[in-house]
């Protein structure tokens, strides 16, 4: 039986009692490169964080490889939004990539030589091995993103969740990343990528998840990438409503 890497049912998330995601039902099949697309504030990051148990869910459930996230966690790799961490933190590139191994070490385990070799191989894959000893604040945006990617590779997962890995990176890095994602897919990995650029979304991904507080559509790119559905995601009433809701929220603050 083929495992379902990711399944959500009626997933609902609220911040301060204000719902930002309602009733998301998806079943992501194995070995696909999936784009999560939607306007700013659509809840794309929230969806990823809810799947990983980083933000509490208000309703519904999430399963990875048929288990609760906590049980399947070791099979899931994560690339957070680049600005979500403090890049002045006193660690170097190698330290960050080794963090990808920590999930397997347990509380008392030590970083082994094998872990280091895996981390080095992952750095090499993203072309960052020469920078292994650099402090992470002395890197360009594209280099920082490559480091995060190397860290996710070091997790040696079967399902990857990546939040805007193409933001603030140069064209060469973008091409290198997409190349790498395709290679991962070729090895049967499942990859979910939050992406905001529509033209490239159409060419990069096998499947698209159109999201705007609700799941507008989820399916193969050629079926989902239609004027009507995109309109519904970006230009429809939902956006206007949520904008109004946002303005009201801001004014009442």
């Amino acid at each position: 039986m083929q495992e379902i890497p990711l399944e959500t049912h009626d997933l609902t998330v609220a911040y301060d009692k204000r719902p930002v995601l309602y009733g998301v039902d998806v079943q992501v099949p194995e070995g696909k490169l999936v784009g999560i697309v939607g306007p700013n504030g659509a809840g794309k990051s929230t969806l990823i964080k809810a799947i990983m148990g980083i933000v509490p869910i208000t309703g519904g459930w999430v399963k990875v490889f048929g288990e609760s996230f906590a049980r399947g966690a070791k099979r899931v790799g994560y690339v957070p939004q680049r600005e979500s961490v403090d890049w002045d933190f006193p660690v170097n590139v190698m330290d960050v990539v080794l963090m990808g191994r920590y999930g397997r070490l347990g509380l008392m385990g030590r970083v082994s030589k094998a872990d280091r070799e895996i981390a080095e191989a992952c750095l090499d894959k993203v072309g960052m091995l020469p920078y292994a000893k650099r402090q992470i604040s002395n890197l360009s945006g594209g280099q920082q993103q490559r480091v995060f990617l190397a860290r996710a590779l070091a997790q040696e997962s079967d399902l990857y969740l990546m939040d805007e890995p193409f933001v603030g990176v140069d064209a060469a890095t973008e091409a290198a990343i997409i190349e790498l994602l395709r290679e991962l897919k070729g090895r049967g990995k499942t990859i979910l990528v939050v992406h905001h650029d529509l033209p490239t979304a159409q060419t990069y991904f096998d499947m698209l998840m159109l999201l705007n507080m609700r799941l507008v559509a989820f399916g193969p790119t050629e079926e989902v990438f239609t004027q009507e559905l995109l309109q519904k995601t970006y230009g429809g009433r939902l956006t206007i409503l949520s904008e109004v809701a946002n303005t009201v929220m801001k004014e009442s603050k």
Binding site: I54, D86, F89, M99
Partner: protein, 311 residues
């Protein structure tokens, strides 16, 4: 010239630098060790507190200790160390817990929540002191400035029959070892939870539990240091070593090592300065570690002001 000689006592190398290590080793070694343990425990843990942008939580804890002490005294009717310690640590943990709860259950930001909690607890302490003041007998000077020199007045107790030391020095030594040991033991989850809590959660670590453990440890350290350095200077001990070391290195393990060197030098120079100028040792240590911060800020390679100007 005469003003200076009046302000600054005569300097005798013999008296200031030699005698504390020879003839008067007995009292001075305790002052030095106490200063070192306090600065080391605070600085080591403080490095994480600083990098997690929670520097002022230590301030909040040190101010809410007062009601804890009074209540512990009223309940136990004694000034024994254990009930006092438990009362103060309890108040410290309560402080960090309340800050969390207020922040999460309302839209109040952490800094404001912090202000609400510790002023309220401090106020309760003040009310309790005024109500039961005649019984409580708390030394307010000690609360504010600390009395590091008091360790020399304590009777010596034996440690497993190996050696003898004043009780508070032993306790502070144990606390320092506890801090260094726990940080080393939980180094990886601590670093991941501090740098990228999302990743930590996704790996099945529990950054929230880490936060609470760190806060409880902080409460223990602040409360143990409190008697020696007081409610205000403990903040200097928490913040200066970590920030200074962070100017000198960009690897966390090295930074943590440097904080211990800073603690050693701070306690050593502080003790000698205090002896020379006849001033509070806690104040002298704080001034010395401030001086080290200043030096690092100006002269540090890459991060220092001079480097930035003449690069």
């Amino acid at each position: 010239m005469s003003i200076w000689s009046e302000l600054i006592p005569e300097f005798s190398f013999e008296q200031v630098f030699v005698e504390p290590w020879t003839e008067f080793l007995d009292p001075f070694i305790w002052i030095f060790l106490m200063g070192f343990f306090v600065t080391a425990a605070c600085g080591f843990l403080g490095t994480f507190i600083v990098w997690r942008r929670m520097a002022l939580v230590g301030d909040a804890i040190s101010h809410s200790v007062l009601p804890g002490l009074v209540i512990a005294f009223l309940v136990s009717q004694s000034r024994d160390t254990l009930p006092m310690f438990l009362g103060a640590v309890g108040a410290g943990v309560l402080t960090t817990g309340l800050i969390e709860v207020i922040h999460q259950k309302s839209r109040i930001k952490t800094d404001a929540a912090l202000g609400i909690v510790f002023t309220t607890l401090f106020a309760i302490g003040v009310v309790l002191v005024s109500l039961y003041g005649e019984n409580v007998d708390l030394d307010t000077d000690c609360v504010l400035y600390g009395e590091l020199e008091h360790v020399t007045l304590e009777p010596l107790s034996s440690v497993f029959g190996l050696f003898e030391a004043p009780g508070s020095v032993i306790r502070m030594g144990v606390v320092s070892l506890l801090v260094v040991g726990l940080v080393i033991l939980f180094y990886r989850p601590l670093v991941v939870s501090s740098f990228d809590p999302g990743l930590a959660r996704s790996m099945g670590m529990n950054p929230a539990a880490m936060h609470h453990a760190l806060m409880s440890l902080l409460a223990i350290v602040v409360v143990s240091s409190f008697e020696a350095v007081g409610a205000v200077l403990v903040i200097a001990m928490l913040i200066f070593p970590g920030t200074t070391a962070s100017l000198l290195s960009d690897r966390l393990p090295v930074i943590l090592g440097i904080t211990l060197v800073i603690a050693f030098l701070g306690a050593l120079l502080g003790m000698h300065f205090a002896l020379w100028l006849d001033i509070s040792t806690a104040g002298a240590i704080s001034t010395v570690i401030f001086g080290m911060f200043l030096l690092a800020w100006v002269f540090a390679p890459r991060r220092g002001l001079l480097w930035q100007v003449f690069r």
